[in-house]
Amino acid sequence: MTTPLAVRVFESEARWYRRVWRGSVVSSFLNPVLYLVAMGLGLGTLVDANLPEGVEGVSYLTFLAPGLLAATAMQTGAGEGSWKIMAGIKWTKTYNARLATPIGVPDLVVGLMLWAGFRVLLVSFVFALVMVLFRVAPLWQTLLAIGPALLVGLAMAAATTSFTVRIKNDVNLAMFFRFVVIPMFLFSGVFFPIAQLPGWLQPVAFITPLWHGVEMCRAIVIGTTPPVPVWISVSYLVTWIALGTTFAIGPFRKRLTP
């Protein structure tokens, strides 16, 4: 039986990751701890003191944690789709090496997405464990919330990849993080309900993949009713994944096999 070509790409990413995983595991554990301590507990004490009925009925920490889970998945996806892709295309040229083998451009892109999905799963899983440590919710509920987090991470990985492959240099990537990723992180309902946003900004939050992920994670972890039906959010994120992946293939072909 032959191994699907995209899986061979995935395998190769895994082999590489085995060498470099140490640093990223520490940060994927430390990040949620730091955020939950500083924002959830620190800032949360102030928030909870002013809102005896809680934020959407729960403590600020409980409100924040599922949103941060989705946001971390989003950032992991953006990370997988940015400098790493730029490096493979431009700096290390390892994608050229792969394309000299039976692997073709679509296999390469799908393989990279499989890998991005795996990384998002890994990071989300660690985050979920930290949430359990902070007694945000029981284990099974927290683990279920990894599902929407995976969708958000993949949507972002696919979209970011199709952006990265179109740009010439990494200055644009820094801009992308500054003007897209960070604002999305701050204003998609992770830290406060988007009802607090000015009216004109709320539709912007609706179209971000992160907002859909945040609402779904929160629904699973604290039992809120999501503002849009889950099937719509899921289809929306799947569309991002499909379009991002598809739109990455053309420019990849142009750059790597001109």
Partner: protein, 307 residues
């Protein structure tokens, strides 16, 4: 017997720019075939089309009896490619790089391990098996890249400027390795802008210039066909060369005036030197040598490869 590679009117265009302009060539099985030419002549573009990593713009191309346009994956499975720039995984070890590459061809781990042992011996990298690539010298990296290209036991190995940027010692080791491959019957395609490399390694070669093939033959044939037997190299004091260039033209079958010296192509060097002395040309140094591929190249393209 069918040719291993056959190209007719093969053309590669990038927008308005024609990188390869309807070239014809063939390569036989077991042959070591060279593409010689300056940078930008279209050598690498041709290699990429043969390696099915760049679609052809027009013409026909058949490699190992396959069509690179429609049978890319099958074709690439049977090729080995050594690109111009090393694209090894710097953070991985020598062995890991080879293992990883073998998996792209879906070889079993056991089969790869066996092959890796052979290749490490071939590439003289046994002692570096567990060293990270970033710690290797340029010559070692090249040998590893060649070993990597051989992992799938390819029927055809494509080498794009295999020794560019290496020191003389490393080049000679590499030539020796490539010569061994040739003896084992592996068909090699080599691009180079080094004459000595082409003379050492190629049974037959084409000279490319400005997207076209300007000559074809064995190194010896090319020299005989395009250049008189001997070359007299003359050096002059600063400023003198320009003033005597007119007079040099009459002294040999052909004179090539370079920036620092004049080359006189002749069938009888002794006679030419005698005439130079008779003419009272005030040269600084004189050297007689046999014609080389470099001279063929100068003749065909009118410029030095050193530029």
């Amino acid at each position: 017997m069918p040719k291993l590679i056959e190209a007719h009117d093969l053309t590669k265009k990038f927008g308005d720019f024609t990188a390869v302009d309807s070239i014809d060539f063939y390569v036989d099985e077991g042959e070591s075939f060279g593409f010689l030419g300056p940078n930008g002549a279209g050598k690498t573009s041709t290699m990429k089309m043969i390696g099915a990593t760049s679609p052809i713009s027009s013409g026909t191309l058949s490699v190992l009896g396959l069509d690179p346009t429609t049978q890319g994956p099958e074709l690439r499975a049977r090729l080995g490619v050594v690109p111009q720039e090393d694209n090894l995984d710097q953070e991985l070890t020598v062995t890991e790089n080879l293992m990883m590459y073998g998996r792209y061809f879906d070889m079993s781990r056991a089969a790869i391990r066996e092959r890796v042992d052979e290749l490490l011996v071939f590439a003289q990298l046994q002692e570096k098996a567990d060293a990270k690539v970033e710690a290797l010298s340029g010559g070692m990296k090249r040998r590893l890249t060649i070993a990597r290209g051989l992992i799938n036991d390819p029927e055809l190995l494509i080498l794009d400027e295999p020794t560019t940027g290496l020191d003389p010692q490393a080049r000679h080791i590499l030539w020796d390795r490539l010569y061994r491959l040739k003896q084992q019957g592996v068909t090699l395609i080599i691009t180079t802008h080094y004459m000595d490399e082409a003379e050492q390694l190629c049974d037959r070669l084409v000279v490319m210039d400005k997207a076209e093939i300007v000559a074809e033959g064995s190194p010896q044939d090319l020299i005989e066909e395009h250049s008189p037997r001997e070359v007299v190299e003359l050096r002059f004091p600063v400023g003198v060369l320009e003033t005597v260039s007119e007079r040099l033209n009459g002294l040999a079958r052909r004179a090539e005036i370079l920036a620092d010296r004049a080359l006189l192509y002749t069938d009888d060097a002794e006679k030419t030197i005698h005439e130079i002395n008779e003419a009272g040309l005030d040269h600084e140094a004189v050297l007689v040598r046999r014609s080389s591929l470099e001279d063929v190249f100068l003749r065909l393209t009118g410029r030095s490869l050193a530029e």
